[in-house]
């Protein structure tokens, strides 16, 4: 997958909080995985919902779209392999995100 960049990375008002947002991805991924392992679909849904709401605002529309699919799958709840697949796609996107180095 090609690197994913925030559309706001050149915005001086935004770059610091974009970095902070991205730095929080590993922790979010851990919590998402834990919810899946516990089959806590309500928590999974809520975590995905938060990413969906925040992603686009930070300039990552792909995150919003992928998180929406996880949220929908977790809400439906019947198809665990499907949830896993959607979560995998979300993780791929999160891992592809790059931010400019701090100058």
């Amino acid at each position: 997958m090609d690197p994913i960049r925030s559309v706001f990375e050149d915005d001086p008002d935004m770059i610091d909080i974009v970095r902070e947002f991205v730095a929080g991805f590993p922790e979010r991924m851990t919590t998402l995985e834990e919810s899946l392992a516990k089959s806590d679909l309500a928590q999974l849904q809520s975590l995905a919902h938060q990413l969906k709401g925040a992603g686009g605002g930070y300039g990552f529309m792909q995150i919003t779209e992928a998180a929406a699919l996880v949220e929908a799958a977790a809400k439906d709840g019947s198809d665990l392999p499907m949830i896993k697949e959607k979560l995998g796609q979300l993780f791929e996107i999160l891992r592809a995100v790059v931010v400019p180095e701090e100058s």
Binding site: D13, I17, E20, H49, K52, G53, A54, G57, M61, T64
Partner: protein, 320 residues
């Protein structure tokens, strides 16, 4: 005294996602808007009550107490009832939007939001708040003179009495009444009477200190609330007001019309018995009536059980 309404610019975000708080703060900073945030509804309501922000951005999907429940509680509480609420929602269904608006929200923003849209909706919400602030302020102003009105004075007197007692500071109240005002009206008509009321109001407002609260008490009677002011200092303020009214030039059909006022001053430090709003007003009124009896255009003060003449037509202050 300030009767201007400041620009509303304090926004409270209630959202369980901290990155949303930071995003909103970054997006609104350029508008000169300050943002505070809470992650759950209970804390959000508490902060709204203590800080009374100008606008609340409220997430619908909060844990435990959801956004609709928080909205209901904010609309029920007298301290937060009039704060505009904009819902933040990831839910784009018509149902959720309609429900939010029906509950008293002024608007909603769908997450993820475009910054231009967020800013525009927040600006619109703050414009609503500003109009509300102006209306609220208007309801406390006297239409003819532009001074504070009686309901405001009553309310402010109560809160200043509390403060004065808590911090052990003296609070003065001066009552002023235009002399022979009925004659002015009968002789020159009510339009001229209004001009006199406005002129006297202007003298009182411009000669009082910045911290004094000048109100039209009713008819031709005015009240000046003197915070942190003992009788001695209040007497000086009163004398300045009396002289400024006396020196104000009123003309009816190019003929000068003499206008004076009588004053009565009381202070919380010099009351006998319990210090209440009624007791303070009664004492100042008693001093005012004595000024009227003593020939008008003078000041009397209420010092315990005694009413004492301090200035004016028979004053120590008056030279020559």
């Amino acid at each position: 005294m300030t009767t201007e309404v400041p620009d509303p610019n304090r926004v409270l975000v209630i959202d369980d996602e901290e990155s949303i708080h930071k995003l909103i703060a970054a997006r609104l900073r350029a508008e000169g808007i300050t943002v505070t945030g809470e992650l759950d509804g209970v804390r959000g309501i508490a902060r709204a009550i203590t800080e009374s922000p100008d606008l609340i951005l409220l997430d619908v999907g909060l844990p435990s107490l959801d956004g609709f429940q928080v909205c209901r509680k904010l609309k029920e509480h007298p301290a937060t009832r009039n704060i505009p609420i904009i819902f933040l929602t990831g839910d784009t269904t018509m149902d959720a939007k309609v429900r939010g608006l029906d509950m008293g929200a002024v608007d909603y923003v769908t997450k993820p939001f475009e910054q231009a849209e967020l800013r525009a909706r927040v600006r619109a919400g703050l414009r609503t708040k500003r109009l509300q602030d102006i209306l609220e302020r208007q309801s406390f102003l006297d239409g003819l003179t532009g001074l504070w009105n009686r309901p405001y004075l009553d309310q402010r007197l109560d809160s200043e009495l509390n403060l004065a007692q808590r911090y052990g500071r003296p609070l003065g109240l001066m009552m002023a009444d235009i002399d022979h005002f009925k004659n002015v009206n009968d002789t020159h008509g009510h339009l001229f009477g209004d001009i006199v009321l406005q002129g006297v109001a202007e003298e009182l407002r411009s000669c009082a200190r910045r911290s004094d609260i000048v109100a039209r008490y009713g008819g031709e009677e005015f009240a000046v609330l003197l915070t942190d002011t003992p009788l001695s200092a209040g007497t000086f303020v009163g004398e300045r007001l009396r002289v400024s009214v006396e020196n104000r030039l009123f003309e009816f059909e190019d003929e000068p019309v003499a206008v004076t006022a009588s004053f009565g001053l009381a202070c919380t430090e010099n009351l006998t018995g319990e210090v209440t709003r009624e007791a303070l007003i009664e004492a100042a009124d008693r001093a005012l009536f004595t000024s009227k009896d003593a020939g008008r255009n003078c000041i009397h003060i209420c010092d315990g059980d005694r009413i004492v003449s301090v200035s004016g037509n028979e004053s120590l202050f008056r030279s020559g």
